[in-house]
């Protein structure tokens, strides 16, 4: 139960961060991606702020032998660069550039009453499902997370 409550609360903090950073506004995300237009560098500050806090915080957390609710840390260890990583990232960027939404902010718009966000999230989950079908049809090493 603690595990579920903590995941919920951590998700809320993530959602509040996305809201304050205005990443829930696709127009703002697209104005970051529009280098040749009226460029808004805010998103770089969101990512920089988040990565900076995580860089310091992770190192403090990893001094512990294990996390609070699991037996061990599950940290990606792969270092190889494969086609899936680059093609997957590239496809994601095209979708991101069309709609101005990535997975976290898209979810954060769901309770705010925008049908656009709902349509996008349904299609995103269909995309997750297509990947599962593709992945099962090609027995290769699974794509590692992050």
């Amino acid at each position: 139960m603690n595990k579920l409550i903590s995941a919920f609360v951590v998700g809320i903090i993530f959602g509040i961060g996305l809201t304050i950073a205005q990443m829930v506004n696709p127009a703002k995300v697209l104005s970051f991606l529009d280098l040749a237009g009226n460029w808004d560098p805010s998103l770089a500050f969101v990512m920089g702020g988040a990565a900076g806090v995580a860089a310091i915080g992770y190192r403090l957390v990893w001094r512990r032998p294990q996390p609070l609710f699991e037996g061990a840390f599950q940290i990606p260890t792969r270092t190889d660069l494969d086609a899936r990583l680059i093609i997957g990232g590239g496809l994601f960027g095209i979708g991101w550039g069309i709609g101005g939404l990535c997975p976290g902010p898209a979810l954060a718009t769901l309770a705010l009453g925008y049908s656009e966000g709902v349509i996008f999230v349904l299609a995103m989950f269909a995309g997750f499902g297509l990947f599962e079908l593709y992945d099962r049809s090609r027995p290769r090493p699974a794509a590692g997370t992050a």
Partner: protein, 142 residues
């Protein structure tokens, strides 16, 4: 650059980073939204509940923020046609899973760990994101 909001960006980003750190502290995992949400599609017994709780938390986040007295930012969808949204959603869903992460898992958590894979993936989605907007706004729409 009149829309530039460095302070709210840093504060919001800091909270996203804090969330990632707390998630590592309690669950020992990378806070990658595409991986967490993608794991709900083919749920594994005993491994989907925390994923759902996290996703519901993200959905509730903006409501909690307004409940605490915060004001929602303006929200507008420059692409609002169903075909555009569906194409974008499919590409984001499939691409993030194929590439093993999105803006959070690769862009924030991976870069904070100096993961070479995450740096390369982030470079890839940033490049195609910039290129896509350039094509849509300045070649087709310009």
């Amino acid at each position: 650059m009149e829309n530039f909001t460095p302070y709210s960006a840093l504060i919001g980003g800091g909270l996203i980073g804090l969330s990632a750190v707390l998630f590592m502290l309690m669950h020992g995992r990378i806070a990658g939204i595409s991986g967490i949400a993608g794991g709900l599609v083919m749920p594994v017994a005993g491994d989907w509940q925390w994923r759902l709780a996290f996703v519901l938390g993200i959905i509730a986040g903006p409501l909690v923020y307004t409940g605490l007295g915060g004001q929602l930012p303006a929200i507008s969808f420059p692409v609002s046609t169903p075909i555009g949204l569906i194409a974008a959603g499919l590409l984001v869903g499939f691409g993030t899973r194929l590439g093993g992460g999105c803006t959070s898992g690769h862009g924030v958590c991976g870069i904070s760990r100096l993961s070479v894979r995450s740096l390369v993936a982030t470079g890839a989605f940033m490049f195609t994101g910039f290129a896509t907007v350039f094509v849509i706004r300045h070649l087709i729409g310009g």
